[in-house]
Symmetry: D2
Subunit: 336 residues, 4 copies
């Protein structure tokens, strides 16, 4: 059994990770770090009671190293970069579900996250945890940066097409997320009577997932990313509009995904829906070519907490430790 | 008192119209036409009981003319075009909330609605019911075609800018509607456990509001319109991405709306939300100029049933009959 | 025009009141008191912009008296009792939507609200604003205590039956409210991802509406009131289970409601639903007699913000000022 | 590996079963029976694609027996009773998630389900699948009747107390379910714009779970069961009001559950919520004793599709086949 610790246990990403570990046949939760140290996880998170059995504790790299083979970081930007170096010195493998090691470019990091990077020496070593693209590197690393949730919903369909996209037009990504993507911090906009029956856009032109998408598309495509939030809990739907080169054969580009366990290519004329991926590790997508306008429109769906965060993190762990890549993850979507 | 009839009384647009008439100081419901003739409106629509007091009847143009000064049509495409000519002969003014008289181009009508137009001779006479643009014509017509709900959410912000939009790029409109926009017909996708917590796109490249938007933008702008439906009942949020000419002064273009009673121009950096327009006749919008990409992104909101259909229809009626244009419509948004 | 002020303008009850005033033909908002004094109401509450046009100000009884014929209080318990005496001295009629003057028994007030009553001398004068039962008193008072939202949903169906209810059994009221009933204060339980798809009960045995229901039933019936909150914004559904005396003729008891403008007695075997009263001033109810068990079960519905608070408050104002009792309130339910 | 078939594969209970089997370490789906025979399960249920890999087929007891050790029935009442006898003759163990073998009394069956029982000879043999109470019998049977979803939410808290409940008062159960409890058949009331933001009660006094609850409480307690449906997908909250005998020691009665893997006794003053059990096999409950009224109020929660149907069915299978009782079921609640 792989012994797993989680830092930031009671955030939504941390909870989802612990929930998956409850069913994982080869990994078990052995430590949970949170500010509310001293309480049992089941007291703080009643939903997880009787499935996880550790007491929340404060961060101590040496102690964690004794109890854990792998530690997952489920933290806001700017914290993990200080905690990861001592963890690695103590010999623990780290899977960071936060943003600190996703961007290779430190000036882009500063621009979008508003702070200097304090562990830039690790950026080369950190493997970008997009499993279908970095399997070999994942198998040989001790530091993984799990991609952003929106980013995965965009990269899975877009990356195979990158050579067939016109550079003269921007790629327009309008995406909508369930509210869990905003985390558990209280805010007027997420108060139920305000958010229920509401839809809004936010962070136009300045969302931090923009440079991450552009980085992983090779830096050649300009992306206009507009995120929205809608009145539901889980799931991202991304609608991607682009101008293809005439030579682009979309279906052929996706053949590389035929054996991916968690990518479901729906095909032309078929569109992904949130309901089919909720509570699962899948990313679904399909597309339509509009001959009248010359635009290709792709619609993809992912569960922001599962496939878009904790599930991909576990998939990376499975690869790092040589386990069955799908261990603990082989759910279908929870529909209904 | 203006005596009002409604044809298609129990569809969602018809219901909303009757609801507004309940509070309208100068108009009253005097006739309601529906297939379930013989039942009281309050029996078929319990929500409206004690506020509307007519018995549903079958269509008879002569009878309607005796009871009504104005008749609203709340029907699917292809029915009103047969009923309107006899109504007009009988001397009734008609406000059509359906699509039959919106498109001036009959071949576009055939392409998008899948049928020939059988009353094309009326198309010249029909006034497009976008009140801020056609007030004089509305005051002097007896036939109004109320615009589509998505269309209004796009035209209000876009039409003043049309001369400042680059023709080399398409205008990308990703819009999301509450489920009431799909009407009351049962369908698997709108069964609560399927639609709840779901988001989906539909009719990519073929939605019938596309040519209507392009028509009212003067036919010079190519629009890529992608509608979505989300897990809520009312309201449209439209996100419009376009490439402006350098000369475009957005705020100046919107000065023409300063005295519009139901348009709320939020300004730069402010974004519309569904919650603020729900249950009202308002269309709100704001915008962001992304200097990095050169794109302008506008976000607008409207209640698809109220401001996007029945409210605009009543506003048109008020103009046609010389009433206070805001009569019966002066609600704020129902938030929460 | 009746000139109206509201104290506590930006709470949910205050917002709903201002929304109704937007359409009221004989009343207009002239003053709004709130902590955020100095801002325009439309800035603080964008949904109401262009329908209300006052600037928020701080409380000053003399100033309010100059501008207002009536003042509505939309405050938590314990505040209005200090503000109302100076307002009345200044000659303003007061309609209190909060709880301070509902309970005639000051020891019950202390028990359920946790504080002493500081204006007990006004309790005799305050008229309980349950319009169908206190019309004459309302027409002649200058101080109204609008009932609690749950209370109205229970009293309308229950009060006519009170002589036919067995005293040996408690009356069981299990009621569920939309989240707007909890107001706009942020709390973990009402954070969207926590409340969405959730149902919970609260305040078992200690909810402050219990003594109010018992008071208005004449103090002879023991009520077990269990409130719940569900994942929606507006509306209360109350399920009332009681043991009737054999002599009880339910339908006959409700004949007194035949001419009530806002009570809809659905009859035996018909059950109220939240969807039919949402956004309206109606209270609907119906019932089932279970012969197997000997129990009568009544199901009633009301919109907690409209019919259950602000709508009833306006109805009281209409009576106080001799206006048409239904002025500004004649909406049907917003369904959908 | 236990080879599992499911009859009624595409109903909501069948889907949930297949979803659980996707992660079950010792059981796999080998056959799925449905009317739409010939299609792949992933085509009909896109959410389950790549996790289940069988083609839907028509019912053939002999064929099923070759492929399956156990068959789950996920059917409306009245169908399973005809299919189970041939299945058992063919040597298959049957777990019936439908109602046909829950009631031991055939006249109650006829009264509540409106049909004669056609396999009454099997009723003695059928083990009632309430795992904590019938483990030994489950280990030795080949026919299980999984309890109703509401029933489990009531029996888990109520059965240990039965000797301490006054017989002079009815037990009042007001329960609310998410819409998935109504299944996938389309109906106006479950059309999204009608059900969203709505709550309603139904089947007052006649719901078929009433006699099942009374049966499993030993036939001595009169239950007034009033089910409701609310605007969410999954989960039941049951509020149970009863008059306890003075001698009742609630906490002591629940000590028997200390080692139950899927029952979480929250204790006095703590109330269950749907959010903590969603997507899990748990039933949570807590209680309040109201000294003023003398009533005990219990609030319990269960996921109607998981813990309330498919999860309990799998738990029964695990017991029948001598597997770890929690295999495939050890998730925490999906919150959020």
């Amino acid at each position: 059994m792989i012994r797993v610790g989680v830092i930031g246990a009671i955030g939504y990403a941390g909870r989802e990770l612990i929930r998956i570990l409850g069913i994982h046949p080869q990994a078990e939760l052995t430590a949970a770090i949170e500010l509310e140290a001293g309480k049992h996880v089941g007291e703080v998170m009643p939903a997880l009671n009787k499935t996880a059995d550790v007491v929340l504790e404060t961060f101590d790299a040496q102690q964690l190293a004794k109890k854990c083979d792998a530690v997952f970081m489920a933290l806001h930007g700017g914290i993990a970069m200080d905690l990861i170096p001592p963890l690695r010195e103590a010999g623990v493998k780290v899977i960071d579900m936060g943003p600190d090691f996703r961007l290779k470019n430190t000036s882009a990091f500063k621009q979008y996250y508003g702070m200097d990077h304090r562990a830039a020496d690790l950026l080369d070593e950190a493997v970008y945890g997009l499993a279908p693209y970095y399997r070999d590197a994942l198998a040989n690393t001790s530091l993984v940066a799990v991609p952003g949730c929106y980013v995965m919903s965009v990269l899975f369909p877009l990356r195979p097409l990158v050579d067939g996209i016109s550079r003269e037009f921007p790629v327009i990504v309008d995406a909508i997320s369930g509210v869990s993507g905003a985390g558990r911090s209280l805010h007027e906009i997420f108060h139920f009577p305000e958010m229920n029956e509401n839809v809004r856009a936010y962070k136009l032109g300045i969302h931090q997932h923009t440079p991450e998408i552009e980085q992983e598309l090779g830096g050649e495509v300009m992306v206009q990313f507009t995120p929205h939030v809608g009145p539901y809990t889980r799931g991202i739907l991304s609608t991607i509009t682009l101008r293809p080169l005439e030579s682009l054969d979309v279906a052929a580009c996706y053949e590389r995904y035929a054996n991916e366990p968690f990518l479901r290519v729906l095909g032309e004329g078929k569109l992904a829906e949130v309901r089919y991926v909720r509570g699962s590790n899948f990313c679904d997508f399909g597309w339509v070519m509009d001959k009248r306008t010359g635009n290709l429109i792709i619609v993809s769906a992912i569960d922001n907490l599962f496939g878009g965060t904790a599930g991909m993190a576990v998939q990376c762990m499975n690869i790092m430790f040589g386990l069955d890549e799908t261990a603990g993850l082989s759910f279908g979507g929870m529909a209904p």
